[in-house]
């Protein structure tokens, strides 16, 4: 009976306008960086990159899949998997439900397979619109299954990270997903599997400190926030202000943590090149001679 009342109360809440701004919708959008107003139609033609300053708008998983794969080449895995509430955390289920409505996803990650420039790949795409892309049991499980699928079928794994980190409401179970996904990657790697990690805005906390940092190639989108701890916490801890570019993709590149920062417009081409270099594990072409 107690649950009944809390549920009812929760139905009255509307997703905040702040959360809605992340979702590309409406007719025009104002660039948060250079303030230029652009038609959404025009923006979408340019992969949601501001044509005036190059700002990369965060995009949802469905949009990302649409712009990444060869036309009609992809299928989704495990789309019906949903979180339970292992800690019986108050209001958690209601929050999940409202994010489902907001994003059209059952959880914070989309997984599936398809072809990119003709090369088959198993792909995970995180969506920061769903609980800030946080990793709980479902995200960990879907990514682990994806890696196992790729291992079994001998295809590469590509993961687009966009996450605030581990999901608080699933407590220690969320933490353990870091070990679970990393363990799956270890087995996959030892079997010769290729894993490309692409960090998009934002990639922080438990996601940054697990699968996102473990690519054979670690790439990132321009301007993406990438780091372990939050900026505010660091400033409080060390008592000094941090440089503007701190924890950006460019900052990580400078400090040796990334292979490249790749603009969205070039991503498909670069992925195609990397995948072509690894066809058949890469050694085949030489072994033949």
């Amino acid at each position: 009976m107690k649950d009944f009342f809390t549920k009812k109360k929760k139905y009255a809440t509307v997703p905040s306008t702040k959360a809605r701004q992340d979702v590309p919708e409406g007719i025009v959008r104002k660039c948060p960086k250079c303030k230029k107003i652009m038609y959404v139609k025009e923006l979408s033609k340019h992969l949601f990159v501001c044509q005036s300053c190059g700002y990369h708008y965060p995009i949802g998983a469905h949009d990302r899949a649409e712009m990444l794969f060869d036309q009609d080449s992809y299928v989704e895995f495990d789309e019906k998997m949903v979180s339970l509430n292992p800690l019986r955390f108050p209001n958690y289920m209601n929050k999940l439900e409202s994010d489902r409505k907001k994003t059209g996803l059952n959880e914070a990650v989309w997984t599936g397979k398809g072809t990119i420039e003709g090369f088959e790949a198993a792909v995970a795409i995180m969506d920061k619109g769903f609980r800030m892309g946080s990793m709980g049991s479902v995200v960990g499980e879907k990514i682990t299954r994806l890696i196992e699928y790729a291992d079994k079928n001998g295809i590469p794994v590509i993961i687009f990270s966009a996450s605030g980190g581990a999901r608080m409401q699933e407590g220690v179970l969320s933490l353990m997903q870091m070990a679970k996904t990393s363990g799956a990657l270890k087995t996959f790697s030892e079997n010769g599997g290729l894993y490309i990690s692409i960090m998009t805005h934002p990639t922080t906390g438990g996601v940054s400190a697990s699968f996102a940092s473990l690519g054979d190639y670690n790439f990132a989108e321009p301007g993406a926030l990438i780091g372990f701890a939050g900026r505010r916490i660091i400033e409080q801890t060390i008592g000094e202000e941090l440089p503007d570019d701190f924890q950006t993709a460019e900052f990580l590149l400078k400090h040796g943590q990334l292979d490249q920062v790749i603009p969205r417009s070039e991503l498909r081409t670069v992925l195609g090149q990397v995948l072509s270099i690894h066809v058949g594990g890469g050694a085949e072409e030489w072994d033949r001679n």
């Binding site: 979180s83 499980e141 299954r145 699928y149 581990a166 270890k186 438990g206 400190a209």
Partner: protein, 335 residues
């Protein structure tokens, strides 16, 4: 004994009363032993009641006591021939992680533990037990060496978290933690992890991917500290006490959730009341784990560890055409 916590005050007051009574008896030469016995019985009951029913938040506060035994306190009580090994061979040496080789009941092992200070001076030197990337990389270097020489690894987890600092980010704190999770998953030697104090988030897990996870009764282990959880979830760090309960962070919670393998009892009042006795409890638990794990081949050791983490998760798959009723599916096989 260190500063007492508020919930321990009645115990302390009674202890004072007893010592006053003893002093009075000695000075005046009056026999009040009936009264004394009565008080001592009351004290025993009170201690049992207080320490036997500690709330999660009270346990957190015991876990943080400055005089609670640390990695370096347990090492001489549990091992012989300990040789500390410093440095990650890449950047530097992190005093927040202690690592080395030793013997456990005559057999070679590698020992790694997070190390906070036992006073302010040492705490500053050891960065309050919050490691930098070079600490985790030192740990990994020693773990790979253990793998090479086929000796088991014992880790002691005791940290408020990986250090959130500018230099830590520049040197790849995320990568260092991720790399440890990845590499620990592939080790062919038994890894036994013991949460002895605080186990906060990725900073704890980075030396915590083990075949067996053991935990002291008053230790806590979670995705975030209670204060952090309260600040993030309810925008109020003052709700830490509530968060400690809601987040299910104590050893008995984690045992119920199937995350840890064994809960190690603590001496009455907490490990700091008798570190030597506490080390005996840990020793016993480690021996039991070793007996179990030494039955396994190298492949089995690795697979047992992988399978352990593979199984953690709580989810369901909603079946087609059933909008109201949820069908539970814990199968890890692809459908």
């Amino acid at each position: 004994m260190g500063p007492e916590l508020d919930f321990e005050k009645p115990i302390l007051e009674l202890q004072e009363k007893i010592s006053e009574l003893k002093k009075f008896m000695d000075e005046k030469g009056i026999d009040l032993s009936d009264e004394l016995n009565h008080l001592q019985e009351r004290l025993a009951d009170l201690e049992k009641d207080t320490y036997g029913s500690m709330t999660p938040w009270e346990r957190v506060r015991v876990a943080r006591k400055l005089n609670r035994p640390t990695t370096l306190d347990y090492i001489p009580l549990l091992f012989t021939d300990f040789i500390e090994c410093h440095g990650d061979r890449l950047y530097g040496d992190d005093p927040a992680i202690v690592a080395g080789i030793a013997k456990f009941h005559g057999r070679p092992v590698t020992v790694i533990g997070e190390q906070r200070g036992r006073d302010t001076k040492e705490n500053i030197m050891r960065n309050f037990g919050s490691p930098h990337p070079e600490g985790y990389r030192k740990a990994l270097r020693l773990m790979k060496q253990a793998d090479k020489f086929h000796r088991p690894i014992i880790t002691f987890i005791d940290t408020k978290g990986a250090f959130p600092g500018k230099a830590a980010e520049e040197r790849g704190q995320s990568e260092a933690i991720a790399r440890n999770l990845f590499e620990m998953s592939g080790l062919s030697v038994p890894v036994i992890c013991v949460v002895i104090g605080e186990g906060a988030s990725g900073g704890a897990l980075a030396i915590g991917v083990g075949n067996h996870i053991l935990m002291l009764e008053n230790a806590w282990y979670s995705v975030i500290s209670p204060e952090g959880a309260a600040a993030l979830l309810w925008k109020d760090a003052g709700k830490a006490e509530e968060a400690a309960k809601t987040m299910k962070i104590t050893g008995s919670d984690l045992k119920k959730l199937g995350i840890i393998d064994k809960l190690i009892p603590e001496v009455l009042g907490g490990a700091h009341h008798d570190p030597k006795k506490q080390a005996e409890f840990i020793d016993q638990a480690l021996i039991e784990s070793f007996e179990e794990l030494s039955q396994l081949t190298a492949d089995q050791v690795r697979n047992q560890r992988l399978a352990k983490y593979r199984a953690i998760g709580n989810y369901e798959t909603v079946q087609e055409n059933q909008t109201n009723q949820l069908i539970f599916s814990y199968s890890s096989d692809r459908q």
